[in-house]
């Protein structure tokens, strides 16, 4: 398992948002977490990424307990988060955003070429400022920047938010490609169940901070009809 959550409880202040979460993400697979607004999906990803400290429970990344590991060190271990709203730094150019994703890597120039191959629009607009990009281009940039770190686990928060269905389909197709070709593991948080389930190896539903007892097969049947 690349990621194991064991009895994870976390929140803001005294009130827990996540309650006793148990979840596993196998190596080289896409696991999606579905749920309505306010379910705690974003809090789940922020906790795994180290932005929130769990009150109880453990986060194991590739077998290592992440307790006490600083947020800025997680990316070097291979864990990258693409936050909700994409997190593109709009005051920097496309190229600067990408460079930032792999500043500490010696092979960042080669990785940037690969990212440009993967996202051709970014190559064309490499000198554009982040604020000049469309929503779809920003999402590509956010994912591309995360890939600059050559992560083993990608945490994606609502990548389809505000995007046209065609662009969403492209993003999902890309994630499938990264899993199949590079063995990338993905924990995908989505409200767009149909898109997420179309590429997910496993799915869980979340409601009011808890994972619901629903099987992946049931959800696929409900949303995809198979």
């Amino acid at each position: 398992m690349i990621l194991q959550l064991e009895g994870l409880t976390a929140g803001y202040g005294a009130a827990p948002v996540l309650r006793d979460i148990h979840l596993e993400v196998p190596q080289g697979s896409i696991v999606t977490v579905l749920g309505p607004n306010g379910a705690g999906k974003t809090t789940l990803l922020r906790t795994i990424a180290g932005l929130l400290k769990p009150t109880t429970g453990r986060i194991l990344f590739d077998g290592d307990d992440l307790r006490g590991v600083r947020v800025e060190h997680l990316v070097r271990r291979g864990l990258a988060l693409v936050p909700e709203g994409r997190g593109v730094i709009t005051e920097l150019t496309v190229e600067e955003n990408l460079r930032l994703g792999g500043l500490w890597r010696k092979d960042s120039a080669a990785t940037m070429s690969e990212v440009y191959e993967l996202f051709e629009p970014l190559a064309r607009r490499n000198k554009s400022m982040g604020h000049q990009l469309s929503g779809g281009e920003r999402q590509m940039l956010a994912i591309g920047r995360a890939l600059m770190a050559r992560p083993r686990l990608l945490l994606l928060d609502e990548p389809s938010l505000g995007l046209a269905p065609k662009v969403t389909a492209q993003i999902m197709s890309l994630l499938r490609q990264l899993r199949d070709n590079d063995g990338l593991s993905v924990l995908l948080v989505e409200q767009n169940a149909r898109s997420a389930l179309s590429i997910a190896d496993a799915a869980v539903a979340m409601s009011l901070g808890r994972l619901a007892e629903t099987s992946s097969g049931d959800m696929r049947a409900a949303y995809l009809g198979s």
Partner: protein, 292 residues
């Protein structure tokens, strides 16, 4: 015409110092969203360090180096020892802490060195050189331009050409995202304070010899003028700080030369008011982001 040429060069020389000091304010504003009201007092403290070293060794340049190093060290100390522990829940918290620092530093300097003005020497002559019969720049003015130009160029190179500069900009614009990308945001903030305090210290070393001398309040007026310059240029814009400083230096020089020095404070406020009315975000503020 001779008078105009003299006032222009004099204004640019003063404006260069305002630019360096405004740049220091902008650096901290961009990094921490704090107007560092203690910048003037910190710069004077660095100048006192220079005064002590120069008095002990007889070397202006050792004193200059001490001001730079002392200023940067003070910047680190203020950020790590005070500002980092100040609550960010309301912007006024940091303003009040900065004002408290001003009082503490100035009182401390007064107790250590006394409150009298101490004349400070310059490494170059301040006698104006005649060009075509018109007294224009002194050697010291040329040194001031060169020093400020060096600061501006070094900072520009740092921010645009190095990975440390990229990290600093990212940490200033989006601290949380930067942490997720592996940037040590706290370290970048400390570096920003050190650089800003270093620039402020150099500005103090350049301007104090041209004024009444070293005194715990020697940078108060320079702070007000430079803050005005930074707002005119756009508090978020380093180029704006440089241009704002030069523009304000020119305006104050012309007003002082043609209308009298008693009118210059009014001129500074009039320039500020005009810019705030016409372009509230400052002359060089970045354009608004496109909505996703």
């Amino acid at each position: 015409m001779e008078r105009f040429a003299f006032l222009t060069f004099d204004g640019l020389a003063n404006g260069a110092v305002y630019s360096a000091f405004a740049l220091a304010l902008v650096l901290i504003w961009r990094a921490a969203r704090i107007v560092n009201f203690a910048q003037g007092a910190m710069a004077v403290a660095a100048a006192y360090a220079a005064y002590a070293v120069t008095s002990a060794t007889g070397s202006y340049w050792l004193g200059f180096a001490a001001a730079l190093a002392g200023g940067m060290a003070l910047g680190v100390l203020v950020e790590r020892g005070v500002m980092r522990f100040t609550s960010h829940s309301a912007p006024l918290n940091q303003v009040i802490v900065a004002l408290g620092l001003v009082l503490t530093i100035q009182a401390g300097l007064g107790m250590l060195y006394g409150n009298e003005f101490r004349p400070v020497g310059t490494p170059f002559s301040r006698d104006a050189i005649d060009v075509g019969g018109v007294p224009l720049l002194s050697q010291y003015d040329v040194f001031v331009f060169a020093a400020v130009l060096t600061i501006v160029l070094l900072l520009a190179l740092l921010f645009t050409k190095t990975s440390t500069g990229l990290r600093m900009r990212a940490a200033a614009f989006a601290p949380e995202v930067s942490r997720l990308l592996g940037v040590n945001v706290g370290g970048m903030l400390t570096l920003g304070w050190a650089l800003a305090a270093g620039a402020g210290a150099v500005a103090a070393m350049l301007v104090i010899p041209t004024e009444l001398g070293l005194h715990p309040h020697a940078m108060d007026l320079v702070f007000v003028t430079s803050f005005t310059a930074a707002v005119i240029g756009g508090l978020d814009s380093p180029p704006g700080a440089v241009v704002g400083g030069l523009l304000l230096g020119l305006v104050l020089s012309y007003v002082s030369g043609y209308l009298g020095s008693s009118v210059t404070p009014i001129a500074a406020f009039a320039a500020l008011l005009a810019v705030l009315l016409a372009r509230p975000q400052g002359l060089f503020a970045a354009s608004k982001a496109r909505q996703a």
